[in-house]
Symmetry: C2
Subunit: 262 residues, 2 copies
């Protein structure tokens, strides 16, 4: 079983590549998709202004009010169903889920978050409807994987305490699912070619090297690399960070393009 | 296995009843939900005007353009995930699907439809993204029903020919699913107490009586009663038409409230 995460920009600009890549891949696959840019578009169409916050570590993320949570669930579900439609039409048995379905991914709402305000000062605010994943029901996901070849997962988890769906980070969703099903490979496909050092893609990293490197690179990639190292330690075979914008992206990444952490 | 259909007005005004009703019901259940009124609200929020057409038989239905199809899929998915969230939080194992997932419900787009125009004249127009169900993958649905107690189904089917999801009528979805899984009972819960004759609920009808009666009642109920008779002939145990607005609606309908066609 491999787990593939595609970022929001890949969903928006290169979904054809990904569909083609999945059709060319033989085997079971769990696809976790993003879609943030499209969520922002729909939010605006519905007369709201998307807001983003920056953490003290410099990571920018969507701030999700209760109203925007509905838009988030709607948009991610539309993306999910569009992907499933295209796959099943081409003969790949596929099913789309969220973490709510079958209580498959449980998260806890971040009640308070620390942000950097517009003057760069740390401030604690109410966390909105964003969650941190606490557990994955791997037996449910494995049962579904017996029924279909491709499971398409939206980055939405269940907050069982407050009985709401929650916006969760797509990378975190992919890492947690990959760890839970002990995936042989986790592919993170976004709009970069891999982990870069002086403009060059680093082709191989051990998890120790990845941890070490994570302190020297930018905030988005930093987090991916750290989570990659941690997943290796939790039983995932390897993590590959590569491009979703090239033709046949899944087989390309599996055959050595991008950065492999193992 | 029972199949329960809840109409759009029940979704909008009495979802608490339905959730409570499902929690009080012991056994496997497939819930097909509507949501037309909420689709119209979201369509307007997104700056479009929902349009409806009337068939020569007097049935009014949503006209779905390509843009509105996206809104339809988004809104129905939000309703679906909200229902699943509430059920799983209360400990009922549940999964939400559309007919696209696992190619479970296939439909054909109505390329041309006949409508009554504003002057009451018949006219043929392009059909938009509304479909007529052609088949149900009962083995896939039965496999899912082994994994969870409640399957929540949105009225969205797969058009494999044009590779798009399609808006399908919720009653038709419920009838087709009930026939495919040979449901012992199909409950149609809406905002009426049953089939009325001179203001009184008719409690029992044979399928022959139902067919006969269908020519004497209004266009919406007419169609429900005809489809009910047809499902009985296709192996569904019985069909009950009843109210979703009363407390504990599922057990109430099962214990004799409403109109039973068998």
């Amino acid at each position: 079983m491999i787990v593939v995460k595609i970022g929001g920009r890949v969903v928006k600009n290169a979904l054809d590549n990904i569909i083609e890549g999945i059709l060319n891949y033989n085997g079971k696959l769990i696809l976790v998709h993003g879609g943030g840019d499209i969520v922002s578009e729909v939010t605006k169409k519905m007369g709201m202004e998307p807001t983003f916050v920056t953490s003290p570590e410099g990571i920018r993320s969507r701030y999700t009010t209760r109203e925007e949570l509905d838009v988030y669930v709607m948009t991610m579900s539309l993306i999910n169903k569009n992907i499933v439609t295209r796959l099943v039409t081409k003969g790949k048995s596929s099913l789309g889920i969220t973490g709510v379905d079958g209580s498959s991914v449980i998260a806890t709402r971040k009640k308070k978050i620390m942000i950097l305000d517009e003057r760069g000062k740390k401030r604690i605010i109410e966390g909105g409807y964003t969650g941190k994943i606490s557990s994955v029901n791997s037996s449910f996901i494995s049962s579904l994987a017996k029924l279909v070849d491709i499971i398409v997962v939206s980055p939405i988890a269940l907050d069982a305490e407050e009985s709401v769906p929650l916006n969760v980070d797509g990378d975190q969703m992919a890492f947690n699912v990959a760890k839970a099903v002990k995936a042989e490979t986790l592919l993170l496909l976004s709009d970069v070619d891999g982990v870069l050092m002086n403009g060059q893609v680093i082709h191989k990293l051990t998890s120790a090297e990845a941890k070490d490197l994570s302190t020297k690179i930018g905030p988005g990639m930093n987090r991916k690399v750290l989570m990659a190292a941690e997943s290796i330690e939790s039983g995932v075979g390897k993590v590959i960070i590569g491009s979703g914008l090239i033709p046949n992206p899944i087989n390309e990444a599996l055959s050595g393009r991008g950065t492999e952490i193992s």
